[in-house]
């Protein structure tokens, strides 16, 4: 018996059937992002960090002094795994199914996020390219600034529904809309 296995996104029940056309403030949930945890072994922290930055197709997200999330919205899982395997001194583990990536953008994005996180997101304090783990409501997430008015939130899959609903609630004031993106 050959199995045809359907992949299910954690937010399917939250988003499908509720989509509207995107407003200026929009939350775009990546269908199949590739996300790996990258752990640098002792003494290799700096080298691994630099190698990650240099790796093609990969956006590194800072988690802690020896830990990153390697994110790719363009390359496939095996390509990313291949790039990461070339980094010496690192251990990697696929977390693509364990994380949910939501990109939020729009003119009011900072006002929405100010209701969710305690970190100062002024561009002088949290510039584009910056990322960190932080508390989002009651849930630890990774937040990255991808542009002046664009952020990406990576949440654990089991909490994604709660984080999503909270975000949409906080975005009501600014007519935040949401949809899936990617195949």
């Amino acid at each position: 018996m050959a199995l045809t296995l359907l992949h299910r996104h954690a937010l399917e029940d939250h988003i499908l059937g509720f989509e509207t056309s995107a407003n200026p403030n929009h939350l775009s949930v990546a269908r199949r992002p590739v996300i790996f945890s990258v752990l640098a072994h002792a003494g290799q922290e700096q080298a691994v960090g630099l190698a990650l930055k240099a790796a093609p197709d990969i956006a590194p997200r800072f988690c802690g002094p020896a830990e990153w999330l390697a994110v790719s919205l363009t390359a496939g899982s095996e390509t990313v795994a291949g790039h990461l395997s070339e980094i010496s001194g690192a251990s990697v583990v696929d977390q693509s199914d364990g994380k949910v990536l939501m990109a939020i953008s729009g003119p009011s994005v900072r006002q929405i996020l100010a209701k969710c996180v305690g970190v100062d997101l002024h561009p002088q304090a949290f510039a584009p390219g910056h990322s960190a783990n932080m508390l989002f409501g009651h849930v630890a997430v990774n937040l990255a600034r991808t542009g002046p008015d664009a952020f990406e939130i990576i949440t654990p899959r089991s909490f994604a529904g709660s984080v999503y609903e909270d975000l949409m609630e906080m975005g009501r004031e600014f007519a935040l809309t949401a949809s899936f993106s990617g195949g």
Binding site: G64, P65, V119, D120, A125, A132, M134, L135, A140
Partner: protein, 90 residues
């Protein structure tokens, strides 16, 4: 309402991101006397004032930190990575 701790890795964060373990005491080696182990597991000075505590940045970098603070006024004198401060003291 809020207190802030400045994590050496993540910057200034609300205290809700952390959990506190208590006094910074070195774990005795396996060969040390019973008294040392008894003190390590059970005895705490609990001073009023300046205190060194282990704080875990649970919602951030997940590093254990040594927070040097006054537990009366919550004035924080310094926050260091626990591993770094341990290695520094060796």
């Amino acid at each position: 309402m809020a207190s802030l701790i400045t994590c050496p890795h993540c910057g200034t964060r609300p205290k809700e991101e952390f959990s506190v373990r208590g006094a910074v005491i070195a774990r005795p080696s396996a060969s040390e006397k019973d008294e040392a182990w008894h003190r390590y597991v059970y005895v705490r000075d609990n001073p009023k004032g300046r205190y060194q505590e282990y704080w875990h940045h649970a919602a951030g970098c997940r590093r254990w930190l040594v927070v040097n603070r006054d537990n009366l006024t919550h004035e924080v004198f310094g926050v260091t990575d626990a591993q770094a401060s341990r290695e520094g003291s060796r």
